[in-house]
Subunit: 504 residues, 2 copies
């Protein structure tokens, strides 16, 4: 009879093998976006799907199930210690998800999404939602089926949400988002009426890519990104990926006239990267060495990008350096003016181009729509109408065409229903976490002004990163802040900041 | 009962899955040499060994064996067509090799070599062979055991050689190399006594890396390298790697003062790359889509690097361009002088820095030593003495220390016994193949002089690349040249070329 130690040794080896397969897949994706020659795409897709297939085959193998069932018995008999319990329960959660989805279903979904993505791209190009309708209908149908196969208590949407934000429910989100929506619609109305007029293009100039790259590296290093354990490259869409805590990579892209186009994405991705570099190497291959959820991950990128990176104190340190490197245009702009410029608020059509005040309304709109779609209270054909009317209602914006409306995001064509709310959850987590950090670290913002980010980064690491999946998202927030997630910290943060900027 | 078609469909899918795993491993290696951050090494080694482990597990699985045995029966009953026979017999050859090596043996060898490589690096640094002795003894012992496990007819060395140059025997090589050695020792003696004195440093200058890179890309493209299906990057040691025919990558390195340091490696690696880009995409995952052997692969790099790339006609086309790009120093050097300079011959200590005349004596020396080591007629402790005495005898060179002698190459510390002779086989194949190409393509060298390489590249592709492993190395040479491999073409090539250059 195997001992508990034997069983966990076996589990550890199997999980580690799976994680190394995952690292290889991550490298294949990274290379595809960054360096792969253009004709390599067709084979690359097959190489990735082969490795994903091997991962799946190993993960749901009979041997693996047998092992997990033996450990499940120990768990039931309360014989596991705390770490073992975390490792087992997270593995079991993922294993049960995968087991519930028949291989043919997974294949059908993957193929449908694969076809849908090129049709979506075409539909967006032609701004013709009807082109996309039959494909999106098929995907929604499959995702509804997926929810049935996975199982749920209240809403089928919860079964999908669980993939990205485990243990969160759509009911909790609905309550929080409702309050947030009311607040945001209100403050945006006030900002629109403010006498303060900001011209963000005042910050435009001609910035050589070489110098921009150096600035990015300087800021990222200052934040704590370890370039001995990571890289920064160029890709069409910025992203962060991690093969293990000792090889974490970020990407960005450049515009000659706008250095914040690149820099703000670098700060964002560095926030993600610090989470991954902050995991413990010795926990690689175990849930103890993995980030908690998409929402918590996003909190780490947004806390740096927005709360820190658009903070006046942050720029007290960096702005003189910026002025020195780029006298044109910055020598003519004082710090306060600069600060207002980078925090310019304006409702726009496109989510990815929106500021931190309007951003969450883009997300709330998508959450409401996708929840209704999965629950079956609306249908695919209705989307443009609903989209456009919500855009008008929440942001006061008139959508001129579907390309700049319902067709703008890739998520649905890839079957990622339940992903969108994690963006806003990330923003809410970030404000609540930052409030706790400020209470815990003396003179935190003064440290920023002196270019000291070490305490803050270490605080995030010690309180969040090193724990891996020891806590659930909610458990972590309780642990750090003593309360459940609430929108009030984010609301206060936005209210105070923009009251000052727009003299509301 | 499965039909022949079913069995081959199953085999095709399994081989394709293995090949995709191989592509992932190749990317992990490429990235390690080219872009991986320095601290990523430890995890990377584990990720690679995990994927290699999965490859091995799948390759020698009971299901795979069962399938191969069913096909073996068809083969025995002569029911396979030509392509099926090739696919089966090559797969069976590799399968049997792997099956014969017990898992513990493979693991012990891998660990021994892994440890030995850092000790070798240290020993080379300190120029202290004794440090390396216990490790090399252990490796030799394991390789002798490997030969016993694999089995052989005449020499245990043949069992190891078979991994790199299937179906070749050490007896055949010994006969060919003996003749070659006699010839080379003779002609080198004559070159030493020649009145023609060449100063290769006349070609030194100051060449910006950016301009060198452009030159490399220009030459590589002219040769036919398709940059839509490949890349060129920088690494410490140049290499070529291929993930599939649509993603083939080469690397080089640069010296500011010497553009041939980079360019000649680019021509060499492009030769390898053209072989890989010349395989048929539809044969990916099958022996029909794989290169024949290390020797044939090397023939493709050396035919371009040496026979073409150091040919007067090649430079009739490129030299005016070189003069235009780099007037200093080339405007003062005429083509004939330039041609003699790039073909400068001088016996040196280091294999990788040697010219095409002396190079093969470095290889012959290594072949003789490693064959004797594996056969047990000499022992590890004797190596420096034997090495130094052969260097004196063949090249007239006195070895001052082991770092520049027996410790210079990485191969033995990695357990690669049987690899070295493929370098010289490549040179011999290349001369024999080039002779056939010249007979087949009208005015071939005039085409080079006009910057036309398309006919030559297509000839190589049609006669070699697209066939994959359809022929054995010897079968291919018979098919192309109508004779078995012989040193006479190489001997004639060298004799004619250097008679003219050194006025012998």
């Amino acid at each position: 009879m195997e001992t508990r130690k034997d069983l966990f040794e076996d589990l550890k080896n199997r999980l580690s093998e799976l994680s190394h397969l995952g690292s290889a897949v991550a490298l294949l994706h990274w290379d595809q976006e960054v360096y792969m020659p253009k004709k390599g795409a067709a084979f690359r897709a097959k190489t990735i799907s082969n490795l994903v297939g091997i991962f799946h085959e190993k993960f749901i193998s009979a041997e693996f199930e047998k092992l997990l069932k033996k450990i499940a018995k120990l768990e039931k008999d309360k014989k596991l210690n705390e770490n073992e319990r975390v490792i087992f329960s997270e593995t079991w959660r993922q294993f049960s998800r995968e087991k519930k989805l028949p291989a043919e279903f997974v294949k059908e979904l993957a193929e449908t999404c694969s076809n849908a993505q090129s049709v979506w791209a075409e539909a967006r190009k032609k701004s013709d939602f009807n082109l996309f309708v039959p494909y999106l209908k098929k995907i929604v149908e499959l995702k509804r089926r997926e929810a049935q196969l996975i199982g749920f208590k209240d809403s089928p949407y919860d079964a999908l949400l669980d993939e990205y934000e485990p243990q969160m429910t759509s009911q909790e989100i609905s309550i929080i988002f409702f309050e947030l929506r009311e607040f945001l619609v209100g403050i945006i109305g006030k900002i629109k009426k403010s006498k303060i007029k900001i011209n963000p293009k005042a910050l435009y100039g001609e910035f050589s890519l070489e110098k921009q790259k150096k600035l990015n590296q300087f800021v990222s290093s200052k934040m704590g990104f370890n370039f001995d354990c990571g890289r920064m490259d160029i890709s069409t869409h910025p992203f962060e990926t991690s093969f293990n805590p000792e090889d974490v990579r970020i990407t960005t892209r450049y515009r000659k006239e706008d250095l914040f186009y690149s820099l703000s994405s670098v700060i964002h991705e560095t926030g993600h990267a610090l989470y991954e570099q902050g995991l413990l190497s010795e926990n690689f291959g175990s849930p103890l060495g993995e980030a908690i959820s998409h929402g918590i991950h996003e909190s780490q990128s947004r806390i740096w990008e927005k709360i820190v990176g658009q903070n006046l104190n942050f720029w007290k340190y960096f702005y003189p350096k910026l002025k020195k490197e780029f006298p044109k245009p910055f020598s003519d702009i004082n710090l306060e003016e600069f600060y207002k410029n980078i925090n310019y608020v304006k409702p726009t059509l496109i989510r990815t181009e929106s500021d931190e005040v309007t951003y969450n309304l883009h997300i709330i709109l998508r959450f409401e729509i996708e929840k209704d779609l999965i629950e079956g209270t609306i249908e695919v054909e209705d989307l443009p109408k609903i989209w456009n009317s919500k855009m008008k209602e929440y942001l006061g914006v008139t959508v001129p065409n579907d390309a700049n409306g319902v067709l703008q995001d890739v998520h649905w064509s890839g079957g990622s229903f339940g992903y969108f709310p994690t963006y806003t959850l990330g923003n809410l987590y970030s404000a609540q976490i930052f409030d706790a950090a400020k209470k815990s670290i003396l003179n935190l913002e003064k440290e920023f002004a002196a270019g000291k980010f070490e305490h803050f980064r270490q605080w995030l690491r010690n309180n969040i990163h090193i724990h891996g999946k020891t806590y659930s998202a909610n458990g972590l927030i309780m642990e750090i802040t003593g309360e459940e997630l609430s929108s009030k910290y984010f609301v206060n943060y936005i209210a105070n900041k923009y009251k000052q900027i727009y003299e509301l």
